[in-house]
Symmetry: C2
Subunit: 160 residues, 2 copies
C-alpha cells in the first residue's frame, strides 16, 4: 500500500527529542567511567571510550551545521582534542546546545536532500542524520561492555 | 520555527529500508561468531551474543505485528529457544520476512498512536519502533567487542 510507504513516521521535533534523549544517556556513560579508564581502558585493541565520545562530538555539532547549511567542515578524526573527563563533558554539553540551537534552522526539505556529507559521504540527509545517532548508540553499547568489564554497573539503557 | 518542528524527516518505507539494512549487518555479526563462542562467550557477566540476538528476534517479529494490529504478544525473555547458529540464523531470516510482509499493513496513523507495547511499555509507537532498532544497534555494538576480544574482525559498521 502506497499509503504506508509514504506515511509520516516521526516529525523533526520528535527526532531531535529522541537524539537528545540518547545524548543524555551517553553523557551518563561517559560520567560513569573513572578518569583513567575513560582514556586508557580498551578491549581487543579497540579505541578508548573517550576517543569514541570525541568522535561523536566531532561528528554531531559540525554535522548538524551541515544539515542546516550544506556547508560541511572537514572531519578531524586523528587528533585527540579532549584530555580530561571534564573537558570531554564540557564539549559534550556545548554540542548539546549547538544541536538544540541549529536544529530549528534546518530547512524542512533538507532531510530528503542528497549531500556529500563532510565532503566524503554521499546520501540522503535523513540517512546521514541517522548515521550520527546510530554511530552513537553503537559505540555507547561498546562503552557498556567496557564498564561491565571494569565491574561498573552502566546506566539503564531505556532511561533517557 | 514550526515548519522544521513538524517537517517530514523520513517516510515509513525509508525507515523499513534503514532497519532491514541494520538487520543485514546484524546477521553478518551473528554469522561471524564461531558456534561455541556465539553461545558461550561473555565479558563482565553479560549475556552471550546468541541471547542478545534471540531478544532482537523475539522483540521484532511480534513487535511489528503489534504496530500493525495493536495486539501485543507477551514477550518471552527467559527461555532460550535457539540452540545452534543455524537455528538462530533461520529464525533471523524468518523475522526479516515477517517484518517485510507486515510492514505495509501498518496503518499510517499508527506511528503517532500511543500503545501499551507488549502490555508493558507505554508510549508513542514511533518510539517503540525506534526502541526495537536502537536495542539492536546497542547490542550489536556489544557483539563487536566480543568479536574483537576473540581476535575476529567484525563486519564494517557502515556496510548495510
Amino acid at each position: 500500500m502506497v499509503r504506508t510507504a509514504t506515511a509520516q513516521v516521526i516529525t523533526a521535533r520528535q527526532v531531535l527529542d529522541q537524539w537528545q534523549g540518547h545524548r543524555r544517556l551517553t553523557r551518563r556513560v561517559i560520567a560513569a567511567f573513572p578518569e583513567k579508564e575513560l582514556f586508557e581502558f580498551s578491549i581487543g585493541g579497540m579505541r578508548s571510550f573517550a576517543l569514541m565520545a570525541e568522535e561523536m562530538i566531532k561528528m554531531s555539532g559540525p554535522g548538524v551545521k551541515g544539515l542546516a547549511t550544506g556547508i560541511w567542515e572537514k572531519l578531524e578524526w586523528r587528533e585527540q582534542t579532549y584530555k580530561t573527563k571534564d573537558e570531554l563533558l564540557k564539549a559534550w554539553d556545548d554540542t548539546t546546545e549547538t544541536i538544540e540551537e541549529i536544529w530549528n534552522k534546518i530547512p524542512p526539505y533538507r532531510f530528503q536532500d542528497n549531500d556529500l556529507a563532510f565532503g566524503e559521504y554521499e546520501g540522503p540527509l535523513y540517512g546521514t542524520l541517522l548515521y550520527f545517532i546510530d554511530n552513537e548508540v553503537h559505540h555507547r553499547g561498546q562503552g557498556y561492555v567496557y564498564l561491565r568489564a571494569l565491574g561498573i554497573e552502566p546506566p539503564a539503557f531505556w532511561m533517557r
